[in-house]
Symmetry: C2
Subunit: 323 residues, 2 copies
């Protein structure tokens, strides 16, 4: 099987998704139009719509509705990026100035609201109760996930349990949704739908952990971010949580958080070096590999068709992801 060709096919599909998105967003009033199109043009991997489209190929029906759902998924993703960046006061997104900084928080709020409404307008084309229930429930989980993250900022008591709950809500359930919506759009067998949801869910859990690890890698620089950005902003992700088993590191986090929370600008370099030199990074990788393995097992049970191997190829890519 020519997997390279398969991958090119997927790239064409992403182009189709982008066409739908550009078509819709270019009709919006200013400054919604400019803000949304800037975010679209800045890049992004379109992993969620891509997973939606791959999953849709396991169904019986033609894939027209899957394109709609994939576009709606990306719009929700865009909206959550805008509101998240605002809440985190992030400076850059996809290498460009974030919307709330380029415009202001009020416009960022409105653009986010508008993108959700645009996504719902697409979803309204889909007559499937289950799809609507899953969609709305995931939106709720996203809001809750954002809240958990925000409330645990600068909190040392934060446990692995809270970290994983946040990952489930903010990433895994949303990627699970992306997969199952594709399968629902083409009316795949119910059991297969659930199966694809789980693949997305496990991929999402793994993906988020790798994301949190990469925040400590020097490649962060290339993404226009400081190394250890999450930590500097008061967020404890898996590498730090694991490194905090070391009392010295725990104390450093404790001291820095105490002072940061009072608005002081501090030197995190020493702590970040400690975390990178500890075994926390490799332990965190083990967690991500565990989820990736769960995804691989589920993928292996899929019907034997080209897209099964695209999923496996994706696993290979994710296990070596460096940005």
């Amino acid at each position: 099987m020519n997997l390279l060709l398969q991958y090119r096919d997927l790239e064409n599909e992403i182009k189709q998704i982008d066409q739908i998105l550009y078509g819709r967003l270019s009709q919006a009033d200013e400054p919604i139009r400019s803000a949304a199109i800037q975010l679209l043009q800045a890049g992004g991997k379109r992993s969620r719509p891509l997973l939606c489209l791959i999953s849709s190929s396991f169904g019986e029906r033609d894939r027209t509705k899957a394109y709609d759902m994939a576009s709606a998924i990306e719009l929700i993703h865009m909206s959550s990026l805008i509101h998240d960046d605002m809440i985190d006061n992030a400076q850059l997104r996809r290498g460009k100035k974030t919307i709330h900084l380029q415009y202001n928080t009020l416009i960022a709020t409105m653009v986010g609201d508008y993108l959700v409404a645009e996504a719902l307008e697409i979803m309204a084309l889909v007559e499937d109760k289950q799809a609507h229930q899953l969609f709305s429930n995931t939106l709720k989980q996203l809001a809750i996930g954002e809240l958990i993250q925000y409330q645990n900022r600068y909190q040392l008591e934060r446990s692995l349990k809270t970290y994983f709950k946040k990952n489930r809500n903010k990433t895994a359930k949303f990627i699970g949704l992306s997969c199952i919506l594709g399968a629902i759009a083409t009316q795949a067998d119910k059991k297969l739908q659930k199966h694809l949801y789980l693949i997305g869910y496990y991929l999402g859990m793994s993906y988020q952990i790798v994301d949190d690890i990469l925040d400590f890698s020097s490649n962060s620089d290339e993404m226009g971010k400081l190394i250890g950005q999450d930590l500097r902003e008061g967020y404890l992700t898996l590498p730090t949580l694991l490194a905090m088993n070391d009392d010295q590191i725990y104390k450093k986090v404790h001291n820095l958080f105490k002072q940061s929370n009072q608005g002081n600008v501090l030197d995190f370099e020493d702590l970040i070096a400690d975390i990178k030199n500890s075994d926390a990074i490799s332990k965190a990788y083990q967690y991500s590999q565990w989820y990736l393995e769960k995804a691989r097992q589920k993928i292996n049970q899929l019907p034997d068709q080209a897209e099964k191997y695209i999923f496996l190829q994706l696993i290979g890519y994710l296990s070596k992801r460096k940005y």
Copy 2:
């Protein structure tokens, strides 16, 4: 006909809506729960869900789904109040401190997002493509209306046309939606559905104008607002726009906006007195009465049943509304 009794029946129905809302919101995580329940308890007239329920009585089916839709409508209304107050930096809502001031803008953003998701979860119970399309489209119009309002802040060029467009998007279409969703929920005749939409639309246009007039009345005080709050915040509503036909008043607005926009705190009392002493208030009332008359005509064409007279009673109430 005992209209008083009819009205009491409606109050019972509102209680049922509130029960649904309390039931759902009390399950939310903190601080979403407290913030949302505070807004619910602070009062509000529940006019939108009420209109949804009145409209639903013109359909054939039982009204179970109408309660769902009415609750979803109120949740969207609550969400838009929270995001609006944040954008306007309003101090009080229903006599209590606004969410973004009591908590902060980030929590206000998240609570608003959560309430939309909660509304969508209710809407997902409703299998009706048209209902979903209208719902999502109205959300989009709300976001655009908010944007128009925000962008025209401190803009003197703002015309009556823009003012009415903002009213259509932010109020009239949403109240039209409230009515038609009730009618869709009980499968009223298609023509009747459209008819009820227009009743809501005209009532909404009238309602918003009266709201803008009341901003200049001394009763504003009782609502915990300053007289002329909109104007002080840089929003030109119908009374001011009409009063600006007088060159002296135009100049005063021009000067005050120019300085306010630079962050100065200014004395609006003189200008507000001028507007109140001009014929702008009575002219604005004529506009609201014109829309109310359009609504009355449509109501008169409704089938002869109790709720027709509740609508007419509502017209009587709206034409004398003082708060």
